[in-house]
């Protein structure tokens, strides 16, 4: 088991029961300059996390015979830290699992289809966001679209002044739509913007979730319009 060292590198913990896949992740993350700890099952990861929390955790949901081990781990970690970035990286692609994972407070829910480069990009983005949140707006890059404000530096979104808690994928989708109001974004374009490989249905359910999150703040929210046969667009004037 790799112990976290006290070096200055960011520490990423990967909980992945597939040894080969874990090794590949470790290699890629190490190459990117992260310090990587790899765990194959929940208990050893928890034991390690007792001593010190990593800077970011990538968790597989299904850990060998421990089919929901990833979820349990996420719940335990979230109890320890509200801000620790947690990414689910799993083969389970059902919407139900995604919703479950995100409800537990994960920052993103990715399927293993995602390439290493996309994964690394996300991890980097999450670190950026965390950094921005911890050291508030010294040089924020804001985008204002009516009642919507997007801070591109901290990856944060507010609607009517209230923060909307979006996952990274959701953030990128909103960002892609709001950047050019009135322009239709196809599902493929949205997938590209979110740096991920999703199928049409997943895009649809992401948009559904985004709408729901906005609707929690504002019952009358209808800024994201479905353009049948093409995709979605941000209603101009919002």
């Amino acid at each position: 088991m790799t112990e976290f060292t006290t070096d200055s590198r960011r520490q990423v913990a990967i909980v992945e029961d597939d040894i080969a896949l874990g090794a590949n992740y470790r290699e890629a993350f190490t190459r990117e300059g992260y310090s990587v700890a790899l765990f194959a099952e929940r208990q050893s990861a928890l034991t390690a996390f007792e001593e010190t929390l990593p800077d970011l955790v990538v968790i597989d949901v299904n850990l060998g015979t421990d089919v929901e081990g990833g979820f349990e781990l996420c719940r335990a970690l979230r109890q320890r830290s509200a801000t620790l970035p947690i990414i689910f990286l799993t083969a389970r692609d059902s919407e139900f699992d995604a919703v479950s994972g995100l409800r537990l407070g994960a920052d993103d829910y990715l399927t293993k289809d995602i390439g290493l480069n996309h994964l690394l990009a996300r991890v980097a983005a999450l670190f950026r966001r965390q950094q921005a949140l911890q050291a508030p707006a010294t040089h924020s890059e804001r985008m204002q679209r009516g009642q919507l404000t997007i801070d591109e530096h901290s990856f944060s979104v507010t609607w009517q002044g209230s923060a909307v808690t979006l996952t990274l994928t959701e953030y990128w989708l909103v960002h892609a739509l709001a950047r050019h109001p009135g322009h239709v974004k196809s599902r493929q374009q949205l997938m590209d913007a979110a740096n991920t490989v999703l199928d049409d249905n997943t895009v649809t359910s992401h948009v559904k979730r985004i709408r729901r999150k906005f609707a929690e703040l504002d019952d009358a929210f209808d800024a994201i319009e479905t353009v049948y046969g093409m995709g979605y667009r941000w209603r101009p004037g919002h």
């Binding site: 083969a91 293993k112 046969g229």
Partner: protein, 650 residues
């Protein structure tokens, strides 16, 4: 032509017809056996009776024996009138002439008076003399003759004949009929008739030697009457074919019986081959012609009696001594034997036949019923799995308590297992797509890492190729999970009233922008509302349009049309392009089925139309593909038929 249950059971049923046939055979065999026994009995009876028959010394043996040229006087039952005709003699038409010599004549004997009749053919009546010769006990030859000129009755005289001999002549076109009455005198020992030319002495007789006159033997008749065994008919037959006695018996003439001539009895005889028909005929005539003579052997034979349908058993045995060339004939009716001629037996056989036919009919009806059930089961089994692969596990007739019910229930069990298996396969595809993600991720991440290490150009090219392969593999998995998810979405979708006309018009605009290489024309009926889920329907149309654009040549038009009849809404997406592949077009809507002939588009997994079908079916609709031909341009139309929303339903 199949050899169905009905035919098989009919065949078996027909086999039961063997029952009455067998009974008829049995009757015939019994009949033969009884006849043989009767024949044996009769033979024995004949042999024991023969020695008892004897001549009275007073009677001339002439009466009992045969002479080559004898003339035979038939016993008459009444006195004829001397009128030249024989019709009043009381003989039947078949009575044969008294002599084998020429001219032929008939001789009758009534109480000792002889009557002679002849039908003469005269070439030249005027130049003809007819002579009658008789020989008396002394051997004196008396000749009486006349010229056949005058019609009428006249006396014939001769110097040695005392009693008046009278004749009657009735000339006709060919000659004439002659009747002569000869009183019972010595003269009548021998008789002869001659026809000769009239150029000689009128006393001249120019014919055959007069033959000895034979009569029915009174003593033999008495002897036979005395010794005849009870229950049989008996007579004596001379070797020259003349019967020497009348038939003596309880029923000297055989009954004309009507029994045994019924239709069925005749039918049975025909079916079995009529052995009676092949029997020799026993003649009842007084004189039996040589070819009518039956074997002299004493073995019993069965003979038919002329002019009756009766059969008899006869036995013949020669007498001995002075009567050595005389045969004793015993004759017994076979009606005592149980035969097919027996009406009650025929009735029994008829009843068996009718019952058999009834049984065959019942069997046939039963077989039809069975066969109908089996065919219904076969039909239900053939359609239990629909073209779409849906399995119905309920079959008609599963409540039946017999073996066909067992078979039906067995089929249901089988179908249930198949359905479980099918569901397992479906879930297997799902599971598989999940299970494959991790190994693919291993390969993909390994390749990604490899890309960051120092590689030669050749190695990099290989790594990229491997990467492409993994991308394709992932696309397949994504298509599969898309289909799975669409299935789920279709199941869980919430339906609401929907303006399909407006939706389709809006979509057509969107498609025009998205697919720049094709034109889109619409033929949309306004105000068509259905109950449905817009997102699903849009997804379905996306798939159909995407499919159409892949086959339509560039710059061709894709036609979107929407029609409504009373209760059905029909949505069509038509494109020009290659026709559908031959085969079951319904299969196009199955997963992993593609109509592409080449595999250049390896990303295409054949899920598009499958998803379209799932969505159509979620809307209680049907989807179908058919070839269209506009002028000489071939094309394909995919039509989705959905139930229209009935006003008032939510």
């Amino acid at each position: 032509m199949t050899f169905g249950l009905r035919r098989q059971l009919l065949l078996i049923g027909v086999l039961t017809l063997l029952l009455p046939i067998a009974s008829v055979f049995y009757i015939r065999e019994t009949e033969n056996a009884l006849r043989q026994a009767q024949g044996q009995f009769l033979s024995d009876l004949a042999r024991s009776t023969a020695p008892l028959i004897g001549l009275d010394d007073a009677e001339s043996p002439l009466a009992a024996t045969s002479y080559p040229d004898s003339v035979f006087a038939l016993p008459l039952t009444r006195t004829p009138t001397l009128d030249g005709y024989r019709e009043d003699w009381g003989l039947d038409d078949t009575a044969r002439p008294a002599t084998t010599q020429s001219p032929a004549f008939w001789l009758g004997d009534y109480n000792g008076t002889l009557w002679l009749h002849a039908r003469l053919t005269l070439a030249d009546p005027a130049g003809t003399r007819i002579g009658l010769a008789c020989v008396d006990a002394n051997g004196d030859f008396n000749v009486m003759s006349f010229l056949p000129n005058d019609r009428g009755t006249f006396a014939l005289t001769s110097r040695n004949v005392d009693a008046p001999v009278r004749a009657s002549w009735q000339p006709d076109a060919r000659g004439g009929q002659l009747e002569i009455r000869i009183p019972g005198t010595d003269c009548a020992r021998r008789l002869g008739l001659s026809v000769s030319a009239n150029d000689i002495n009128r006393a001249t007789y120019s014919g055959s030697l007069p033959g000895p006159v034979r009569r029915v033997s009174r003593t033999l008749t008495e002897s036979l009457r005395a010794h005849r065994p009870a229950g049989v008919d008996a007579y004596l037959l001379a070797s020259d074919g003349w019967r020497l006695t009348p038939v003596i018996g309880d029923r000297a003439t055989l009954d004309e019986r009507t029994a045994g001539t019924s239709f069925t009895a005749t039918l049975y005889r025909r079916l079995l081959g009529n052995n009676e028909r092949n029997l020799p005929i026993l003649s009842d005539a007084w004189r039996i012609l040589p070819d009518e003579k039956l074997s002299q052997a004493s073995a019993a034979r069965v003979r038919s009696v002329a002019n009756t349908n009766d059969t008899v058993t006869i036995a013949q045995t020669p007498l001995t001594g002075a009567l050595a060339d005389t045969t004793l004939v015993l004759r017994q009716n076979t009606s005592a034997i149980l035969t097919l001629a027996n009406p009650s037996l025929v009735r029994l056989t008829n009843i068996i036949l009718i019952v058999t036919v009834l049984v065959v009919g019942l069997l046939l009806a039963y077989a039809s019923w069975l066969s109908a059930r089996v065919r219904r089961l076969a039909r239900a089994a053939a359609t239990a799995v629909s073209a779409r692969g849906d399995i119905s596990t309920r079959l008609p007739g599963n409540a039946a308590v017999d073996e066909i019910g067992d078979v039906t229930r067995g089929f249901e069990t089988l179908l249930g297992r198949v359905r479980e298996q099918q569901q397992w396969l479906k879930s297997l595809a799902d599971t598989l797509s999940h299970e494959l993600r991790t190994p693919i991720a291993v390969v993909q991440s390994s390749l990604d890492n490899l890309g960051h290490s120092a590689l030669s150009d050749a190695q990099r090219a290989l790594a990229e190729r491997a990467s492409d392969g993994v991308a394709r593999l992932r696309a397949i998995l994504n298509a599969m999970s898309t289909a799975n998810r669409a299935e789920q979405a279709a199941r869980d979708a919430r339906f609401e009233q929907l303006d399909l006309s407006g939706l389709l018009a809006q979509l057509a605009d969107a498609y025009r922008q998205t697919f720049a290489r094709h034109g889109f024309t619409t033929d949309i009926v306004d105000n068509v509302s259905i109950e449905g889920n817009a997102e699903l329907l849009v997804q379905m149309l996306d798939k159909l349009v995407e499919n159409a654009t892949q086959f339509a040549p560039d710059d061709s038009d894709i036609v979107l049309s929407l029609n409504m009849t009373d209760d059905l809404v029909t949505l069509r997406v038509s494109n020009t392009g290659p026709a559908l592949p031959a085969g079951d077009s319904a299969r196009l809507f199955d997963s992993f089925v593609t109509q592409r002939r080449d595999d250049t588009d390896s990303q295409h997994m054949g899920f598009g139309l499958y998803i379209a079908r799932l969505i159509a079916e979620a809307h209680r609709g049907r989807i179908a593909a058919l070839d269209t031909m506009i002028g000489t341009t071939s094309g394909v139309t995919i039509s989705v038929t959905l139930p229209a929303m009935v006003a008032g339903t939510p």
